[in-house]
Amino acid sequence: MIKVDNVVKTFGGFRAVDGASLEIRQGAITGLIGPNGAGKTTLFNVIAGVLTPTSGKVTMMGEDITGLPPHTLFHKGLLRTFQIAHEFGSMTCRENLMMVPGNQSGETLWNTWFGRRRIADEERALRAKADEVMEFLTIGHLADQKASQISGGQKKLLELGRTMMVDAKIVFLDEVGAGVNRTLLNTIGDAIVQLNKERGYTFVVIEHDMDFIGRLCDPVICMAEGKVLAQGTLAEIKANEQVIEAYLGTGLKNKDMVGA
């Protein structure tokens, strides 16, 4: 579904992503693991259009999407969440979700004054949907709270909720579990599985919690130093010698690179 072909992204002289190639199967929940600084988030940013790759190509269902801006990719069904949860702090949780589908008819100056009925209908439908999403994610009671006031874990749920406001094709989750307690993490995991089964979302998940990865993801891709090291089930990955080296830093050819 998504094909990443030999992507390189350099920041100055530093090669954050160094010729990564991978393929993401439709309908799968793919896990992306690797030590800190492996280039996972940078690769996410390249795919989601936040960064333009230095070289290489990203295709989605055969269509070249390299370097398209994020809001265009959003309308093609490619969504992502952030490692550190982002929210529109001055708005309520409900308003946060209602912001999501872009290109609403209320967005033009003309319609603001002359298309009021159509906007009202749209807003009503959105409101109902936002409430439904929040109920699903067990944060229904927070609907009217300012998004800047809810807890970190709840913000993560809100991020996930954002992807449910539209019919996404593929969702990239960047460390959904970071700083989230176990119970909430299970809620998030259940939601991901349910969305994958019922709505057919394809997921790519960056996560450091191996239990979480093991429960949800197949296949798992391991990155280190900007390259893709290995791909397979979690058991296969865990047995892979290169991967063990990358995590533990033993026996690397170049000792200076240890700890990268």
């Binding site: 959003f74 309308h75 929210e87 529109f88 001055s90 708005m91 589908p101 603001t112």
Partner: protein, 336 residues
């Protein structure tokens, strides 16, 4: 001692002018604060944007006057205002397309955009002087007073008169209407919410499918409208001179910063704080004091704290004090 006459004098020379001036500053500061909040830079060209919009309004006003078109007791400029807004919006959008967009695509730092806006400021300044000239232009017509000092005296039998000029009345009423529409727009409409979302968190807005170019375009149009309205009201109240509008940039920025950059409510509060302090400090209090104090101890001098030549110093003193004690402004703004 005559407190009533003292109050009337105060109202006539301080309160009414300061309210009018405050409304004009507030409208100007709203434009600055919107650009800062949404496009994330301090727009030094704002004073000259006001001058440009006002210039178009004046030219159209003269055209209407030559046709014999008028609004009766109201100034013809009100009729020309929509055209001024449209012309200013067009010019500002062209500037954005030609200049600012280049830097936006590069994700240039705010500091660079500030310097760029100074370049735009000088160009706009030149364009305005080139078209309408550097001289003073008065373009107000219609009835001059709602209540003149003499009518007021005859009505009340007081010694002092309270004059309310038409331009003052129009300024305050227009400012209230414009601010009400702006707040409704920002808080209730989808476009306004997109703008707030973009201001809150640009990355997230993009990844929620909000088209940044559209947000930027709408912002510029609103800013052009605010600038033109503010400039025209100021011109009606005093007179139009390109250099004066350039100078207005200082109290406008002071207002926006005192209130908290990026906060619309703050911009309005800041506008009135700056206006009142400027007028209060530069007003000659002699007459009020003579009325208010017991006979015989009224001052002989003018009792003016600061010459009007130094009025800009007042804005900056307040600016310094606020920044020292509350760096984000009175209403918590944001810092880029």
């Amino acid at each position: 001692m005559d407190l009533l006459n003292a109050f009337i004098t105060l109202a006539n020379f301080v309160i009414v002018p300061a309210i009018a001036y405050g409304s004009q500053l507030a409208l100007g500061a709203l434009g600055v604060t919107l650009i800062y909040g949404i496009l994330r830079f301090s727009n030094f060209a704002h004073g000259d944007t006001m001058a440009f919009g006002t210039m178009i309004t004046i030219l159209i006003t003269w055209l209407f006057q030559s046709w014999g078109l008028s609004l009766g007791v109201f100034p013809t400029a009100l009729l020309a205002l929509p055209f001024g807004i449209a012309g200013c919006a067009l010019f500002v959008l062209m500037t954005d397309r030609a200049v600012y967009r280049f830097y936006r695509v590069q994700k240039a730092k705010p500091v660079i955009l500030v310097i760029v806006s100074m370049g735009v400021m000088f160009i706009m300044n030149g364009v305005v002087r080139f078209i309408i000239g550097p001289d003073d232009h008065a373009f107000g017509d219609g009835e001059r007073f709602i209540i003149s000092a003499r009518t007021f005296r005859e009505m009340t039998g007081l010694q002092e008169g309270l004059a309310i000029r038409t331009s003052t009345g129009i300024t305050v009423i227009t400012a209230i209407i414009v601010v009400a529409i702006l707040f409704w727009f920002l808080n209730k409409t989808r476009t306004g919410k997109s703008m707030r979302a973009y201001s809150d968190n640009e990355d997230l807005a993009l990844l929620s499918g909000i088209n940044p170019e559209r947000v930027v375009m709408v912002t510029w149009i609103i800013v052009a409208a605010l600038a033109t309205v503010a400039g025209t009201l100021y011109g009606l109240d005093k007179s139009f001179k390109a250099f004066t509008y350039f100078q207005l940039l200082l109290p406008i920025f002071a207002s926006a910063i005192v209130g908290g950059l990026g906060s619309p409510v703050g911009a309005i509060a800041g506008g009135f704080i700056i206006a009142f302090s400027e007028v209060l400090v530069t007003y000659a209090w002699k007459k009020v004091l003579v009325y208010a104090l017991p006979d015989g101890i009224g001052p002989d001098g003018l009792a003016q704290l600061l010459s009007t030549d130094y009025k800009f110093a007042v804005s900056f003193l307040i600016l310094l004090i606020v920044l020292l004690f509350r760096p984000t402004g009175l209403f918590k703004g944001k810092s880029v």
